[in-house]
């Protein structure tokens, strides 16, 4: 574990990245537990807990708390992933001390009030309904449900209407007690702050954090169904489609992780990568065309995303599948690997540009339990990747035959037939967009 700048009395590690260029400070607290702990039938519990915490600590109502933050010239937000929760904010330097008190209050002494809970539940339910306007998000959700099935990674971090309506305030309070414990917290400060000031201010704010560790539930390796399976999200009057195609990706920190980063960059990670070149530059079929390599404690998703016009949907999807097969069968060229490596190594300068950019990988590294030199040796490891290593990694990690294909479009009979007839497709499921 990277050595922190200091630890609080409760042992919470605190990391610093100083920059005195501007009188602002970013605060980032990572809680190393996330939605994976949500009980069955309670998807969205951790996120609802975080959002209820954000409504303020004990002794002040939600409206007054928001007023107080705005007066400080501060922002504060919460987010939840499957493995972590983030409480993040920014503040004008002169108001850092009271702001840290509020951040610590949200985490360690949240009000979790009954009236706020019911209001929040109604808000989340309304937001889930509004999600139906976001075609990209709907397709992404369908993709993950199809790929991961009932696995923890397939569950919705934000929950669904039935699971959110089933959550009780007692469950939220229990979730908070389970998640917010000193050994789960990592604090980071970036910006106009010295180590001495940080130690005094954070030490004074983060006191009496509960001890004890909540054990992470074991996560089994995801096992997607065999074959190429299509889920078609049917939405009326679409002139454009959303396409996600993918399979399982990686576990964070595996030996060939950097080889996969290089390979994915060459295939679909940049504007000149194969996928973009063929789909957009050569044919003009989709404004965007990218692939993404996911990695977590268990195998996350690898996916490619395009959004062609409705008329080009089937041709574009067939092209993507062909490009994917060629990538796996014949690999990347020496020149593609060289260019991807060069791009990744040289653009690393931007990961160090500002204090908050420098802090982020440090915190992530600690949160994920990666080796101390994981980020420090990033460019060195990239340089060591060979063409053979990149191509071997792709063949070892990505499945040629077991693919999840999620498409959002208007499901005409012609489209259904065309999707069924795509090479290797063994299943087509159609879901109305408002039932997802």
């Amino acid at each position: 574990m990277i050595e922190p700048a200091f630890r609080t009395a409760d042992g919470i590690p605190v990391y610093l990245e100083a920059s005195h260029a501007l009188p602002i400070v970013d605060v980032d607290v990572i809680v190393t537990r996330g939605s994976i702990l949500d009980p069955k039938g309670r998807d969205g519990l951790a996120r609802m807990t975080a959002r209820l915490m954000r409504r303020g600590p004990v002794g002040i109502d939600a409206d007054a708390f928001d007023e107080r933050l705005d007066r400080l010239g501060a922002t504060l937000s919460v987010s939840v992933g499957s493995e972590s929760m983030h409480v993040q904010g920014s503040v004008i330097r002169r108001n850092l001390a009271p702001f840290l008190d509020e951040v610590a209050g949200v985490l360690l002494r949240p009000g979790l009030r009954d009236e706020d809970f019911e209001r929040l539940r109604r808000t989340i339910e309304a937001e889930l309904v509004q999600l139906r306007d976001n075609d990209g998000a709907l397709a992404a959700r369908a993709f993950r449900h199809q790929l991961f099935g009932r696995h923890a990674y397939g569950r919705s971090v934000g929950g669904t209407l039935p699971t959110v309506s089933a959550i009780t305030l007692d469950e939220v309070r229990a979730c908070h007690a389970q998640l917010i414990r000193a050994p789960h917290l990592i604090v980071g400060l970036a910006g106009d702050i010295t180590a001495a000031d940080a130690e005094a201010l954070v030490g004074a704010a983060f006191v009496d954090a509960p001890r004890g560790v909540t054990r992470r539930p074991p996560i089994r390796e995801p096992k997607p169904k065999a074959g190429r399976r299509v889920v078609l999200v049917d939405k009326p009057k679409r002139t454009q489609s959303q396409i996600y195609v993918g399979t399982l990706g990686m576990i964070m920190g595996e030996p060939d992780h950097h080889a996969m980063i290089v390979a994915n960059t060459a295939f679909g990670g940049t504007f000149t990568a194969r996928l973009m070149k063929e789909v957009r530059s050569e044919r003009g079929w989709s404004y965007g065309a990218y692939s993404k390599l996911g990695a977590d404690r268990q195998r996350e998703a690898w996916s490619m995303w395009t959004h062609p016009g409705a008329e080009q949907l089937v041709d574009c999807l067939a092209l993507q599948l062909s490009l994917y097969e060629t990538w796996l069968d014949r690999g990347l060229t020496q020149d593609e690997v060289r260019r991807a490596k060069r791009y990744l190594i040289k653009s690393h300068a931007f990961d160090l540009e500002t204090a908050d950019k420098r802090l982020e990988p440090k915190l992530q590294s600690v949160a994920l339990g990666l080796p101390d030199d994981w980020y420090a040796s990033y460019t060195k490891r990239l340089r060591a990747v060979t063409r053979a290593a990149a191509n071997d990694a792709v063949r070892a990690r990505l499945s040629r035959d077991d693919l999840t294909i999620a498409v959002l479009a208007t499901a005409t009979p012609e489209l259904r037939a065309a999707l069924r007839s795509l090479d290797g497709v063994c299943e087509l499921r159609v879901i109305p967009y408002d039932e997802l």
Binding site: L22, D66, L69, R71, N95, T123, Q130, R132, G284, L352
Partner: protein, 437 residues
Amino acid sequence: MLACFWMRHGYERVGGVPFGAALEVERWRLKNGLTVLLLPDRSAPVVSYHTWFRVGSRYEEPGKTGLAHFFEHMMFNETASHGYGEFDRLMEEAGGETNAATWIDWTYYYESLPSEELPLAVTLEAERMARLVVRKAQVESEREVVANERRMAVDDSVRGKADELLSALAYGKTHPHGWPTIGWMEDIEGYRVADCRDFYRTWYAPNNATVVVAGDFDSTETIARIAEHYGGHRPAALPTRAAPAPSRQRKERRATMKWPTPSEKLLVGWHGPAEGDADHAVAELVHDLWIGGRSGRLRKRLVEDLEIVTRLRGGVGGLQHGGLFELWIELREGIPAARALEVVDDEVRRLLEQPVTEDELEKIKARCELFTLSSVETMGEKAYQVGFGETVVGDPSHVFARLEEVRSVTAADVRRVATKILQASRRSIVHVVPEAA
């Protein structure tokens, strides 16, 4: 002495202006009229290189709408020295990121690079400013890409479609602010190669551009390099364009839009001041008073107290000749939009009848301070602010000048500007109604 230097080198320093507490923007000019703004900042080993052209969608003609944006796409294609795709390939190999944007008043291009690669940006940008090759095949390919971009941003987007309707409603479809920057689809389908070549020859000239460099570089070397690469470009005889006519709207305008969406939505736009107008800062403050932060007046009532709205967005258009003061309101399922509009009307009355307290003003000013500082953290953000300020109001440190303007706003200013802008007769409303599947 200065004249002698100018003649020998083809460039001269013509001023400078502080950019925040610690930095300075150096203003240089080349003999051909190119303005160069240098913002040296050695805090990180990176640079951001921006090229701002004073041409956007308001410079287009009806029938050719979207051409400025379309041409932005064309600029990433072939030049006399670099084949198709070379621009992006060279940038990526240098570890750079590049993109562009087009709006009503301007088009800008940027590269963010490790500092040692700055010469590449100078070379490539200078080349494509004067020696772009426009071919039919590329026009056809980009036409498809832009049509798909339009489908994504407008035709399949409830907000995008409502935006397009509101502009046309508030200004009229033939007003330069009334057509969409991305263009009408039928116009996109009709561009010819000659249209693109004409557009390039007319507007892409050194005397219609500003180059901004922010980051880790040496000013003397950089201006000399820029002069070397751009110095031979000929200035153009720029067409004169009359400022867009001010809106004569005297009556509220409404349009209804049916859409496959779960709830009603409202997009409301009042005619507001130009970015350079003294009232613009006040208008922004009023907007923040309504929907800024979680304690904004409208947000608190609509989202928290009444629980009838899920999302509230908006802004005050930052245009040279007056934009819209906009509110985007997403109602909860089953709630009629009229209920939200009643609250908006009520909040307008409150602004006109009750002075804003000093306490509330101080809150908004603190928020503005944070957002101003947060908008100039990276080199790319700094270069953007310099380029935007120079192009839209002629002040590269406009972002900091704006903060000072906000700090001096009084309760009387708020009432005066609210009275001027928030008139029912000067607003347009797009009402989105769910359409059954």
